[in-house]
Amino acid sequence: MRSSHSLYSKPRQWDAAIRRELASWWYLALFGATALVMAFSPSTYTRANRIAVATHIYTGTWRILPWFVTVSALASLVLIRIVVVTALSYGLSQYALEMMVRVLVLELIPLGAALFVALRAGLAFNAGTLPQAPAGYAAPAAGIGAVPEVVASVFSVLSLAMVSSALVLVLAYVNVYGLSPWGLVDYTRTVGRIFDPVVTIGFALKTVLFGLAVSVIPIAALLELARRRRVHASTMQPGAVRLFFVLLLIEAGSLAVKYI
């Protein structure tokens, strides 16, 4: 973690620190690109890799899906109730549904899913269960060993976000219209108005980028540590700060594209 404290060094060392930081970002980009190319290459999916991907999907999605969905549903229910009651008291109930879908489905759920996966990876790192970069994978081109994990993480973020979003859409409907089917046409129209092509593509792209960030950045940081043969002295997952910075950047960019 010496590099992360490099900005606190003396001014004459800033040049070297900036160069090191840029090299680190370049390494990250290179690793991400390589992992992406390998993930889309059929030859990557050998028998062993398929099992590895399946195992990561199982541990990263199958196991945590019920818990995440339950927690996000409860949190969403609280938010939906607050929004509905507040909107009703101000006489703005016609905007409540749109606001809930926009805030929860488009913004909070994907971000929550990404943070949940990142947190889980951090906890796994601290518990010592995160697979370490294998020997010989110091170079980005040799990141094939991390591809199953990258694919599984992206899938995990996508799955958690999609299932939670679908559930939140149902919860929002039930909260506003009750169990009556007569609000379905109106609700469908509202959903259709919100999910115009730009928003839908932006939502999908943002979720995929969240998944990539969550999967690529920690692994790249680990690989970089191994490449530089440094010992990770902190209990914090390597690349965590960078990960949150990138997540913030993606979210800000998404908001800017949609609403500015």
Partner: protein, 314 residues
């Protein structure tokens, strides 16, 4: 690094590949289902007809917003463009199942409130009119609350200025109130309403003095007119004399009437006499004619035969 290398090979759970594939299929199904639902919600699978609304200003109109009829959304804005004539063209897709609500006589409005978004509304007064043809172009009526605000503010400012002028210390209202106050003070004064009406107690005193004089005059007049040996007594005597004169006149007129009757009788006798004179003249004329005939007869006899002589009547 060592603590990670200990667990680099996790145990493979049972049927992990099947579970992963199942999850993949479920997620793919969910994503495809969600996409289909969104496409359905956006009316991708519906047959629509185009309606073009023309507005002076398309501010607040967004792609995707609804057009409502009786509060129900029946159309969706698909595009907003600027026409060749500089007017905004709002292109709306109306599903064919909802197009029945739009008639040739339908009116479209674009309303902007202070709170909330812009709304496009359709009104069809006569639902028996022919249906609106596809691709129809209609001018939209604008109801803009925001546009009314500057006018409202200008009016309010004028009103406030007037109010300020009215409430100023030297304003007409204040002067009027002062006058009213002095008038009410006079009303409460010695001469009351009279003093208030005339402006000062001095004037009121003059009026009262005049009234006193008038009262004295009336008293005097009453005595002179209606009192003993007053004008009214003379008048009554005169009236009695006039009555006597009138009765004399009536008698005289009766006499005149009798004289006239006599004169009428004389006139009648004269008329009879005149008629008798006519008969006498006719008889004389007949006698003359007989004498004339006799003379003619004698003249025709010898020795008096000669030139006939004409007898001239008197």
């Amino acid at each position: 690094m060592e603590r990670h290398s200990e667990t680099s090979a996790p145990d493979v759970p049972a049927h992990v590949e099947f579970k992963a594939v199942l999850l993949l299929i479920l997620m793919t199904g969910l994503i495809v289902g969600f996409l289909l639902y969104v496409m359905y919600a956006r009316g991708v699978f519906e047959d629509t007809q185009r309606l073009v609304l023309i507005a002076d200003d398309s501010e607040g109109v967004m792609v995707g917003m609804d057009m409502t009829f009786s509060g129900f959304p029946i159309g969706r804005v698909t595009r907003v463009e600027l026409g060749e004539d500089g007017k905004a063209r709002i292109l709306i897709d109306v599903p064919e199942k909802d197009a029945k609500w739009l008639r040739t006589s339908s009116i479209f409005t674009l309303e902007r409130g202070l709170v909330g978004d812009t709304r496009i509304r359709a009104y069809s007064g006569i639902l028996t009119d022919p249906p609106l043809p596809p691709g129809a172009e209609r001018t939209v009526l604008r109801g803009d609350t925001n546009a009314e605000i500057p006018r409202l503010v200008a009016t309010a400012r004028g009103l406030l200025e007037n109010l300020e002028t009215m409430t100023a210390s030297d304003s007409s209202i204040n002067t009027s109130l002062d006058n009213l106050q002095s008038a009410t003070a006079r009303l409460n004064g010695r001469y009351g309403l009279l003093g208030g009406a005339l402006g000062s107690d001095e004037e009121a005193r003059k009026v009262i003095a005049a009234l006193d004089r008038l009262n004295a005059l009336l008293d005097k007049t009453d005595r002179r007119v209606f009192g003993q040996q007053g004008v009214m007594d003379d008048v009554q005597a005169s009236v009695r004399q006039v009555n006597l004169i009138l009765s004399d006149v009536r008698n005289t007129l009766k006499n005149v009437d009798a004289v006239l009757a006599e004169a009428q009788a004389v006139g009648a006798n004269a008329r009879v006499a005149t008629e008798d004179l006519g008969v006498l003249r006719a008889e004389v004329e007949a006698s003359l004619r007989s004498v004339n005939g006799l003379v003619d007869e004698i003249g025709r006899k010898w020795p008096f035969a000669g030139a006939p002589k004409e007898i001239e009547l008197p």
